[in-house]
Symmetry: D4
């Protein structure tokens, strides 16, 4: 844009030509502004590819076009995706439980606050791991405590110190999802609740914990989509900054 | 039936007539057997009339036909119903919060065990009162503690003794209904969970706490219909015997 | 805690140190109290592992950490789980229909009352078997009668004696789930209704019988989650005590 | 059409004119055929106006245009509608429970078979009355037995003779709607099940009994819309013929 | 029962013994009555086994216990079921589209009226075939016209004669299910509508046509469960008698 | 922007100042472009205010700020809204059935094609009138035929010429909404289907016709929101141009 | 029909015979009229076969009966279907992403306007391709831009020219489907929104974007069924004419 | 606790008595700890009373018991509630749009960051005002921009500076709720999305925007319950600290 204006002043471009160009430029500008914003965010934030519904060739093509100096995160990636990514990037790391692939090009700047990731059960771990991988790749210190569901509430009291010291808490629960309420009632820090599709019968693939969490009568609890560990990790990182 | 057989033996009734009569008798028999069973149950159990959908004349007619020596309970009764019942039975007692009317003719035999009735919030009290009225009319000792929802979980710990000493626990909660899970995790006695239509938005008139309670990961928790305080009080009495 | 106080009195611990320790102790205490409660319950109650969503290595690790002298129940366990459990515990017993594995270390104390388990159809048997296995492992006498659905109501009358003599009744039904209503109308004992995902079309994987059972107009009927045979068996045992 | 062809043969109409006319005639023909069919049906069948959503002037205009020699039925009509209809037709009869208005101009031909109308509860009576009014206006002998729900199944056995002798049975039930299943299991005649919006909580304005009835495991049961007493009465009359 | 009474009169049985026996007899009586009714129905009606959820050994055992002189129908039977049935009954006939197996032991008495079975599309044929097999096995003359959906309504008019002459019409449709409405609007005979799970997206496995059919504004249309061809065929036969 | 560049060339503005200004300008530009587009559209298109949820003072304030030379349409406006609008604009016209208010300042340019508006029933008329008012205010010739539902399909054939000659067809139906399918099967022109909340029971306030219309197996049918007559009229006008 | 009339005039056919024939002819006439309409539509429109639920032999038989000189489109066709079609028509073209097969016999007449097909994400491409294939086979110029979802709204501004110049816009989006709203807010041309089943958790196989699109607050947006690329392409072609 | 230990050391209390007391003490301790935490939170946080379902006497009693030196917030309070509160606290302030009552006893400490509150439409303002009142009472600087829905996306670009400078953004939208997605795509700060029950038809009292927001494909967006302005304001304040 600067050059365009200088050309115009220098008489190398007519007024109408400059006006015409400026009319479309803003969009590129907006794009660049967006990219700038992105770049700022990216200090500690990876590019993210949600794999389901994309073919392996599509994923490979996207990966090839990404800037070489940034971190990349692939979510909900199965083993076949990993095999093909590994051919392109031999140092890609696969977390089989989380179904994430990381292509790491630099170490993110570390933040001070801790993000505490809790799960109600063992079966919720894959979603938790997705949140953990995401948050760590964005430079957060993450502490994780799994299987502290309300059926044995004493397990939760054993970790009361972690709850009081964490800066942000992610609560991941399927079945009835009541863990979010009890943690929300104990904690004074923001709680991000993630319903999971773990359960059977009337859990309806995560509708039951989703409704539980949305109706949480404890203040300071927000909700993301069912099984959306990535979204919880990302948001936790945003507010942990 | 006994008389019928004696008549038959005495020649007062023909074989075919007796056969014909026996063919239909069983139903009356079944009915009587049923009534016997009922009578047994009724030691401490009132006749119950669910008022919505019935006209006031219909309710009056039903009441007039009921045996005069038994207790009667009307549920979900509004003030108009009460006004008309009071004309027939001046000693009828109205619980405005529970929307119950009691016509009491005898004192039920007292049971030993205590039924503990908990609510998550103040707005759940009408449903709780319906359970309390029902259980008391059936001869149970009832202890009630209201507004101990998980948003302030310490309130629950203040009543831990009541939880440990109760014989049956009724947990009544709207919104996300997580109280049932936390009580179910603490108690070793049977818990009857009652979802209420208290809440707004994604509580969907009680669907959210209903699903929470059905998916409760703590053992020993069963569920009745939304706002069904009567059903919970009745069942609690059955198992408190 | 006792030793701590004695140390303090003996001057081996300072007041502030004791105060500090007591501040955190309660949680361990709570935990122990919980364990005590558990122990009490466990007279006849197995540790339970819900298998879906857990990897086989996770299940193995959990099993290795459990106390050696108690009974263990695994639910919704497929054949692969059983194969791996059998390697660790060669005496583990698999109920293929119920999809339960039992590792039995002692005989539970027998209770007097009988739990009657009814199914509407043949396809409901796996859920029923889960309830039966659970209840028997908790020391209950269980009687089971399968395939007495309301389409042929006379089958139900053949077992009227069992209905009248049982202490608790578990009714398991898919499709429209009306068996719970008819049994609830006949019986004077508590009825635990289990909707199953058996059916097709508008049964919606168990929503139809779930709603039927929740709206049951007969008194004395409570409901557990769809296909939750374990929960029904457990609750039945609680109230059969 | 006959005249048209004769005109054509007589040379009074050109080939192209006849062809043009015939191209549109079928629709009038179809219409007339339809009307003929209608006339045939109407031997015993009233014109029916579903009132909700229609303004009182609209209802009056429709009534004025109807043939004067036929019977007319208005359904779901409130008192205001009746007041305005009465001004036009002073002999109009209002059934306040059924919310039907009848303007009767002739006696329908009586059929031989009996239609039995059963309700589970007292609150289902308005829907039942709509079915009764409809069926009677179509010439059917109707027997009605109300409040025989499954909570007291012995009441049903008292009327076993009516069930065995009826030609068609209409079963009307709200709440969990199990009456349709039990009647379907007893009867060998066609059963038309009508779910009603009677109930509360998880009956969801009639969804619960609707699903119950659709999943009915007894053969010979079909379903109409929630609260559709008219539809049930009409269909019963069709198959009672 | 007759013998029991004669024994009693002859002094071979005491009054109390007879009373005791009569108390239980009714149930057997009811059962026999039921069986009698059944027998009457069975003139032209097969025993029916709904296969899903039953193991192959269970199906075989049921088949072995059935009376040898009656017809048997198995529905929703896959090829494996058929293979095992064929070993027991080499003359068993499999309809691969309908997924029905017939073991025919006698020819049902033919009825006069015709049942017309219509489908909206080609994909609805399996459900239609189940209805056809059922109705034919019950002695009905069945005429079938497939793929006459409303997208090309002229196809429907080609078969107007069949619609006018049929005694009962079964309309089978997935997607939006509008065929039931248009046939209901044309026909003066009873219409049984069967929604199918054919479709995608917002057809929600048959909910869309189910709702369409329940709300059908044409009179004389009733509905059975999604994909329930058997139920439609059975009911059609009941009212074709 | 032109002036800015001229100032810059003339040295009245520095390069950095111009760059800064251009960075924000595009948004105003976009806005103006948007407004231009709007203006173009407005040749024949009214400003529209959806009234529900707005207070009467809010509606008045919005109306006062609108350009004086354009047409304005208020939708879902009750009588109170109309009374207050009439005070501001005495020539405002209220359509009580459609619940629309029009403040007309110029005559829209007439289009050639005809939009045909059909309703299945009398109760659908308010939604239809909203579509008619909208389309007419946008300069369309509108033909309306009400109450041609599929229950009496011959009524539809009487208007076959209108169907063939219309340029766009709007089909408005509640209950089961099958009219859209039958018209879609007959017409070769675009059909816009509007489900209405007319009906009862399983029509679920318009879900039934919404699903019917979305699953319409006839090609050339699109759908708008339940009761959205305005949207249908607007879209019809867009494609009638 | 012409010949019939001439025969009649010539005395070769009696009046009653002609009347009889004309009574049924209309339907054939209607059919022919329909076919004429079809023929007119088919200038640029292929016969379409929706494959799911049809067996491969059924598809082959349908294909063999179709007129040889027209274009044919098969949708939702898997590779097995293609293999069998290829044997019959070696020039059949398969679009693996769209799952469409084309048998092209003539080039459709080209239209002037452009249809713009946008997708929110990469995973929506199969549905988009189905729309593209359909619209192109009907003679439309189609421009496609994929992966311009609102998460990076600047991508959308890059294509503003395409949005302003297109004659019709198809917006295809899963997850939350907000792209339809933003395009609807920018464009002044008709927008056809297609929700897709792309997403997870609370997208519920396309319900989330479906509801988003139906409630779109921007005017000029209509909706088709979930994943219905064909329907969108067809309707776009209808209004692009 | 300190005194208890000193008494014990001094011999004033036996070991068993102290042990007994300590067993229950922790709960009071926990309670006090909880209260401490509360006190800490309360620096800037009001006590909150959710009014629906509470009777006016109940609200008055709660208010009387609250500490006199703290701020109090009542939400969803109608005019009757306000009238009764005003009698107790004449300085109570009512926000009629937000339906909030504030009883303010001290000025909260101001925070630096700004919370930006956006609404899609005018009808969403009541929910927004609830968020604003809550956040301001907790010491936040709040900027509000209403009616910037995506139907006129240029309005959003006018406020791009506010979006870039805010520390937290609350997006409140009914109908299809797409505003959350577009803001989420533009902003790099945390976005809290609040679906509202504004809309009609297929918005289903807020389900449509709720699903939209949960499925938001832009990162950094979390969701609270439908119409839960309070929850959004509270959470925004938590992360603005």
């Amino acid at each position: 844009m600067k050059k365009l204006l200088q050309d115009y002043k220098a008489g190398k471009a007519s007024l109408s030509a400059v006006l015409q160009k400026l009319k479309t430029l803003p969009y590129e500008d907006l794009e660049f502004a967006k990219i700038d914003t992105h770049r700022e965010i990216r200090k500690g934030f990876p590019e993210t590819i949600f794999c389901p519904g994309k073919t392996i060739p599509q994923i490979s093509q996207i990966l090839k076009k990404l800037p070489k100096d940034q971190n990349t995160l692939l979510t909900k990636a199965n083993k076949n995706v990993y095999a093909s990514v590994k051919k392109l990037f031999p140092d890609a790391q696969y977390n089989e439980s989380a179904k994430t692939i990381i292509i790491q090009r630099y170490k993110p700047k570390k933040k001070n606050g801790t993000i505490l990731v809790l799960t109600a059960g063992t079966s919720d771990i894959p979603v938790a791991e997705e949140a953990v991988v995401t948050a760590e790749l964005m430079g957060n210190k993450v502490e994780k405590v799994y299987d502290v569901g309300v059926a044995g509430v004493h397990r939760l009291f054993d970790i009361k110190d972690k709850i009081f010291h964490a800066n942000v808490i992610i609560v991941i629960a399927g079945m009835e999802g009541a863990l979010a309420s009890i943690v929300g009632g104990l904690a004074s820090k923001p709680v991000i609740a993630v319903p999971t599709s773990v359960g059977y019968g009337a859990s309806f693939q995560g509708i039951a914990p989703l409704l539980t969490m949305l109706n949480c009568c404890a203040e300071g609890v927000v909700v993301v989509n069912i099984d959306n560990g990535f979204g919880a990790g990302y948001f936790a990182s945003l507010i942990n900054r």
